[in-house]
């Protein structure tokens, strides 16, 4: 546990020691503002909720999170620090978890910094705060799912551009799972149970059901098991590199 925390602290410190943190947070805040107020038409809707704000999160994360996660392992390999880290008394699990949690906590900080939107909506009307809080939680869980994909992909290649593109594409598939673009790929050849399973993997549908203010255990289980599975694969990727 101590080891995981030490890695988490180091990683989090690294975000703020480099411009990564500031660029990411500023772009995230600006874009979520633009999407909410212009595209989402928060004012025009005349409703005191943050639906327009949260609707764009899956799309915002789609390119911002792979940009954040692409360096997680790839950078360690490039700089040679992976050799240092993996020859310290650190298990692969501790390293994977420490790195992931740091990135997740960081996106949590970025998400928390959108609080002016929440203040605005409370100032403008009688907002449904429990739903907003739940939506924030849903958004945070979804960010974790994106990150787990990105972290895993990053462990398999040292090229950061490939990592970014691959993470983007895989996340896109999961965002759009259940939509014709993805389903049509599997229709006709894959067994129906697989198609149904893919249809239930959609980030969008799980996220939307949370943002509607309904806590469904299945949505929570989905995100946590999704993260767990990708982190497991991440660990396998790190382990595989040891055999050369």
């Amino acid at each position: 546990m101590n080891v995981t925390v030490a890695i988490l602290k180091r990683e989090l410190g690294n975000y703020f020691a480099t411009p990564v943190a500031y660029v990411f947070i500023v772009i995230f805040l600006v874009l979520s503002g633009v999407f909410t107020f212009y595209l989402g038409g928060l004012y025009e809707r005349g409703q005191a909720d943050l639906q327009p704000f949260f609707t764009f999160h899956p799309w915002l994360y789609l390119f911002l999170i792979p940009a954040l996660s692409m360096r997680l392992w790839a950078e360690e390999r490039r700089a040679g620090t992976l050799e240092l880290l993996m020859t310290l008394p650190v298990s692969v699990g501790e390293a994977v978890l420490g790195k992931f949690l740091a990135a997740w906590l960081f996106t949590g900080i970025a998400l928390a910094l959108t609080f002016p939107v929440w203040i605005t909506i409370n100032y403008l009307g009688d907002a449904d705060n429990p739903v907003i809080l739940l939506s924030y939680l849903g958004s945070f869980l979804m960010a974790g799912a994106y990150l787990a994909v990105g972290a895993c992909v990053s462990a398999f290649t040292r090229n950061q551009v490939i990592t970014f593109v691959m993470s983007f594409v895989i996340c896109l598939v999961f965002v759009l799972a259940g939509f014709p673009m993805v389903m049509d790929l599997f229709q006709g050849w894959a067994p129906q149970t697989l198609i149904n399973a893919i249809g239930r993997m959609s980030f969008l549908s799980h996220f939307e059901s949370i943002t509607r203010g309904v806590i469904d255990l299945r949505d929570l289980i989905f995100f946590f098991s999704f993260i767990g599975a990708w982190l497991l694969a991440n660990g396998i990727g790190v382990e595989m590199r040891k055999s050369g």
Partner: protein, 327 residues
């Protein structure tokens, strides 16, 4: 049950270690031991498999075959236990560049499980030993190569490990820095088992009790630096520097001595080099002959041998060795 440390184990045991990368064999069935109190120099040309071997011993790479044990713990079976007991300076001394020296060492100390006052003490001692006092608040990436190397060294010795593995610890350092690092290694040597790789031969003479040489992935020599140097054809050769020119017939006269098998002359610098057979000491008979003949000799000295030459001969078997065969 394996992996229980007992006194019968060497500090580092390498048993038939092999690493294949696809069809390329980087390390081929290498075995050796390092005992506590011993500094073992790991020699070989670049690309010989030194780093790959070290990466396997430290658990960064999984061997294709064979195994290694550190402090009695099998690196494959109990990697965490083994890693707790060793300090490792990887090639190029990688470190997290954005961190300051103190922050980096503090991170290492945390990972190594130190808390509070003990952690601060460990960091302070490592900084002092590696002579990093002047740069503690600078980010590692802004440091010179020499300082970076010392940060890597500080990281490796922070927990005062019984086993220390260093991949080219003095590479890229200036002569003063090299000297400091060697002093540090020598200081620590008495109660540790130290394995250092190098391609600098003088280093072997300077700090190692034993040396092994590998090339193309195979172990070619295992012995003391003195044994290594005695394999040189120059070992115990006697060099005579004459005042003006080499006396006529001197070369043939010396060649006539019993133990001498070759004499080389350097007419420009008025020198004769007398090579002994089997590396025997011939300084006695040679000086006797000089006295008997009444040659006016300015200087006589006995060569110890050249590591370079031995190294070349061992690692490149296809190339013929100088004039004399010592075997």
């Amino acid at each position: 049950m394996t992996g229980i440390p007992t006194d019968t184990h060497a500090a580092i045991e390498v048993i038939a270690l092999r690493k294949d990368f696809g069809r390329f064999t980087a390390v081929s069935d290498i075995s050796f031991d390092v005992h506590t109190g011993e500094v073992l120099g790991f020699l070989g040309p670049n690309g010989a498999g030194k780093s790959t071997t070290m990466k396997m011993i430290t658990g960064f790479l999984t061997p294709t075959r064979g195994r290694s044990r550190v402090a009695g713990f099998d690196v494959g079976q109990q990697p965490i236990e083994a890693k707790r007991r060793m300090g490792y300076l990887p090639e190029g001394a990688p470190a997290y560049g954005d961190m300051t020296v103190t922050a980096f060492l503090d991170f290492i100390a945390r990972i190594r499980g130190y808390h509070g006052r003990e952690r601060r003490r460990r960091v302070a001692v490592a900084i002092e030993k590696a002579n990093l006092g002047s740069v503690v608040h600078k980010p590692v990436e802004t440091l010179s190569k020499g300082f970076k190397r010392r940060v890597g060294l500080a990281q490796a010795i922070l927990h005062d490990p019984p086993i220390l593995i260093m991949d080219e610890p003095t590479d890229g350092l200036d002569p003063n820095q090299k000297h400091e690092v060697r002093e540090l290694i020598r200081e620590m040597a008495s109660d540790k088992a130290i394995l250092i790789s190098t391609h600098i031969l003088e280093e072997v003479d300077a700090i190692c009790d034993r040396a092994i040489i590998i090339a193309q992935g195979s172990l070619l020599f295992d012995g003391t630096p003195q044994q290594l140097v005695s394999m040189s054809s120059l070992h115990n050769a006697v060099k005579l520097c004459f005042e003006d020119k080499i006396p006529e017939g001197a070369e043939a006269c010396l060649r006539g001595l019993n133990e001498v098998i070759e004499v080389a002359s350097d007419t420009v610098r008025h020198r004769l080099t007398v090579f002994p057979g089997n590396g025997k000491s011939i300084v006695g008979p040679v000086t006797q002959r000089v006295r008997d003949e009444g040659w006016r000799v300015e200087e006589i000295f006995v060569e110890n041998g050249q590591l370079d030459e031995v190294f070349r001969r061992i690692t490149r078997r296809d190339t013929p060795v100088q004039q004399v065969d010592v075997s």
